[in-house]
């Protein structure tokens, strides 16, 4: 673990990514405490440009709502959706991939065909359809993002498990009569974890983008403000009021960039060959 942090902190991109993520998380956690008012509240005259009033530093939107407050509250939704949907995707994808790789044969065939079934449908189109059918709410959005993002996890885990299960220590565990679940959980998965962690960090970024795209198209939870919603709602007035779209857009950009940098840092830190050679 110590080794991990050491190499993680050695990679500049990892450090920058971590700083951005920590910043975003602290905004999401503590920001709303500083802004007790709902971001939906109409506080000033509409279309107030940014940097004109200190009470609404980033200006107001078409209804006179505080853009800054929207961004603070939006951080919460975006990060939460990103993290939770990734978690759900892992919970679905890892066991399926592990079982397919470990048992092989018919089980593998069945599970992989099932996975491919999801992979053949364009993921964003599927997400739109799911949210539209289930009615937009935070739960249906998390669920649909998870549904479209677990197949790559399953395929990755299957590949790792396939190569690991022929290793001597796994064969040894089989010979000593350990149960299948014990072998998968204790012997194989821990060693297959590092690429999954790297993938997960990128999945959070993708999930944030997916949520933003859905909200942009008007398929966000109508009761929660999110960055994608702000961009979507401001898009039509971009010629009159650029700030309504630009600031939340930049927020999306920075947080997705941060997560990608973390992914890169994790890759450096967790890939023993890369870190030993010092790149």
């Amino acid at each position: 673990m110590k080794q991990f942090w050491k190499s993680m902190l050695k990679s500049p991109s990892g450090v920058i990514g971590l700083i951005i993520l920590l910043l975003a998380i602290s905004v999401a956690v503590f920001g709303p405490m500083l802004f007790p008012n709902s971001p939906w509240r109409m506080v000033q005259r509409p279309f107030l440009p940014p940097f004109t009033l200190s009470t609404v530093p980033l200006g107001t939107d078409a209804l006179g709502r505080d853009v800054f407050a929207g961004m603070i509250f939006g951080a919460r939704v975006s990060l939460l959706v990103g993290l939770v949907s990734t978690l759900v995707a892992l919970v679905v994808g890892v066991p399926i991939g592990a079982m397919a790789g470990y048992f092989g044969g018919k089980v593998d065939d069945a599970l992989m065909r099932f996975t491919e079934f999801f992979q053949t449908i364009p993921s964003f189109a599927l997400a739109i359809v799911l949210v539209a059918i289930l009615q937009p709410s935070i739960y249906s959005i998390v669920a649909s993002i998870a549904v479209v993002s677990w197949p790559p996890v399953a395929r990755l885990v299957r590949g790792e498990v396939l190569s690991l299960r022929t290793r001597d220590y796994v064969q040894a565990a089989v010979v000593t009569g350990q149960s299948n679940s014990w072998i998968i959980l204790r012997e194989i998965l821990p060693n297959a974890l590092s690429p999954v962690i790297v993938l997960a960090s990128l999945m959070v970024a993708t999930a944030i983008l997916l949520e933003s795209s859905l909200a942009f198209l008007g398929l966000g939870d109508p009761n929660l403000i999110s960055w994608g919603y702000m961009v979507g709602a401001g898009r039509t007035v971009i010629r009159q009021a650029w700030w309504i779209t630009v600031f939340p857009g930049v927020a999306i950009l920075i947080s997705v960039l941060g997560l990608n940098l973390i992914g890169e840092g994790l890759n450096d830190a967790l890939n023993p060959r890369l870190s030993r050679e010092g790149r």
Binding site: S38, L63, A132, T236
Partner: protein
């Protein structure tokens, strides 16, 4: 017996007077936006907004209506009403021909009504009071009513009762008649071609029955599905006319400021669209009158008008729009007063029960309005949850009474008997329909007033009845009236005389001309 024979002729003279101030020029082509693309053009069979807008040039009704909703002659050149208000005699204009050259006669009127009774729901209910229709000669139509029906002279506009050619439809299957795709009417413009997804082209009717009209040679109705692209099409000069509702509200101020651009809110008097919130009177906190009144006090309707609708429209005072007949503002008032709303909620014992709000999925403006109303209601302590849905899903929820608060807007058709009573009388509570009394308000007194109002004579008596009905309704708040909507028509200033009647652009371009 006839007492209004000359009225029509007099009004017709009055209408053309302002046009004479500037001599109309003949010729030219107008490009206008039509949004969305109409599903068809056979006005007697489909009546969506865009169908009316395009087909209003091809077909005509017996009458038109001035901005004050007085009847004007069109296919009927004069009309009279008997003393007992039960017999209406229309004299048809002579020398009118269909686009294919065949003469127009009373038989066409009779046939059209027969068709409309089967294909046009609103026409059917408008004609319920008609006992019999006779045509003593080719140019006379006599309607005999079962009992007096006050708004009867208001049902002959082209969208409500288009006159179709008998010789092309009689004995055919109306739904599959080939002329549905290339409609033949008596109107100032003839159908020429329709490139689906691109444009509909109408050309001048050289044999139009009003000498010298129309002035324009051609109309192109451009089909542009994206709202932003429609604004750009106007800015770049591709189109010259943006009918009401074809661009988003927030684009209106920007487009209005462009050079040579004229904006008018006129031409909606006949429809008088009124926006309100359906309040489900049946269940939960909204069953309590005080909660419904609190909603009226809690919502900042001036804000909605000024910010969301860019200052267009008017705050509604009650169930009737101020532009229709028998409107009164002598009703209880509900100014924006959150403190009063809170007090009423407290008095009613509201304890934060969840209330579902259905916005209208008609685009940005309505979505923003939903958000603003939600915030207004939350500010006085109501627990509002917005339900996201599309148009069809929203209609279904409203029709199934599966909502607490829902946005809508409806046309009023000039007379409370045609467009107001239907939303409040208990006989109109029917599950599965969207535009009837979906709020479930039931008040025998209101039922009686609207029943009496439709058949009472003379008008002063009707006014008395409707004044009383409006007062009771506004006190009870069966629905929360928001705004009288205005859909501005944006044109280049060189387009003259486009809107001359209370039906606006839907009444056709027969008076319009281009100042080159």
């Amino acid at each position: 017996m006839p007492k209004r024979v000359l009225l029509g002729l007099l009004l017709a003279g009055g209408l053309t007077a302002p046009a004479l101030a500037q001599e109309p020029k003949t010729g030219g082509v107008i490009n206008a936006v039509i949004q969305p693309e109409p599903p068809g053009l056979m006005l007697a069979q489909v009546q969506n907004g865009p169908v009316q807008m395009v087909s209003g040039n091809i077909f005509e009704g017996l009458l038109r209506y001035s901005p004050k909703l007085e009847p004007l002659p069109e296919l009927a050149e004069s009309w009279s009403v008997s003393e007992d208000a039960k017999t209406y005699t229309f004299k048809l204009k002579k020398g009118v021909t269909w686009h294919d050259g065949k003469p127009f006669t009373a038989a066409d009127v009779l046939f059209s009504i027969e068709m409309l009774k089967q294909t046009h729901a609103r026409a059917r209910s408008n004609l319920v009071q008609v006992d019999k229709i006779e045509t003593p000669d080719d140019y006379t139509v006599v309607f005999t009513l079962k009992q007096p029906f006050g708004p009867f002279l208001g049902i002959f506009e082209v969208g409500s009762m288009p006159i179709v050619p008998k010789h092309l439809y009689e004995g055919t299957d109306w739904k599959t008649n080939p002329y549905n795709n290339a409609p033949v009417g008596t109107g100032p413009f003839m159908f020429k071609e329709w490139q689906k997804g691109s444009f509909i082209r109408l050309v001048k009717n050289p044999n139009y029955h009003e000498k010298g009209k129309p002035y324009l040679d051609e109309i192109y109705w451009q089909i542009i599905p994206d709202a932003a692209a429609r604004s750009v099409a106007y800015e770049t000069g591709k189109v010259d006319v943006l009918p009401g509702g074809s661009v988003e509200n927030f684009d209106v101020p920007r487009l209005s400021k462009l050079k040579d651009t004229c904006v008018t809110g006129a031409g909606w008097e006949f429809f008088s669209p009124l926006a309100w919130l359906w309040l489900n009177n049946r269940q939960g906190p909204l069953a309590d009158k005080r909660v419904r009144q609190a909603i009226m006090y809690a919502i900042d309707r001036d804000f909605a008008k000024d910010v969301i609708w860019n200052g267009l429209g008017k705050v509604a005072t009650g169930p009737s729009a101020s532009t229709i007949k028998f409107y009164t503002d002598d009703v209880p008032k509900y100014p924006y007063n959150p403190a009063k709303a809170k007090a009423l909620l407290k008095e009613a014992g509201y304890k934060g029960e969840k209330i579902r709000l259905l916005p209208l999925a008609y685009g940005e403006t309505w979505q923003r309005w939903g958000e603003a109303v939600k915030q207004n209601l939350q500010d006085v302590g109501m627990n509002i949850e917005t339900i996201a849905t599309d148009v069809a899903g929203g209609n279904q929820k409203i029709g199934d009474w599966d909502y607490d608060i829902a946005f809508t807007y409806l046309y009023q058709y000039g007379d409370p008997a045609l467009g107001v009573g239907r939303n409040y009388v208990s006989s109109n509570i029917a599950k599965g329909q969207v535009f009837n009394n979906v709020e479930g308000y039931s008040n025998p007194e209101i039922d009686k007033l609207f029943a009496d109002g439709a058949t009472a004579t003379p008008d002063s008596k009707r006014k008395e009845i409707y004044d009383k009905a409006q007062k009771i309704l506004v006190e009870d708040v069966p629905v929360a009236w928001m705004l009288e909507l205005q859909f501005p028509t944006i044109t280049r200033c060189k387009v003259k005389n486009l809107i001359t009647t209370g039906i606006g652009v839907n009444d056709g371009f027969k008076d319009a001309w281009l100042d080159k």
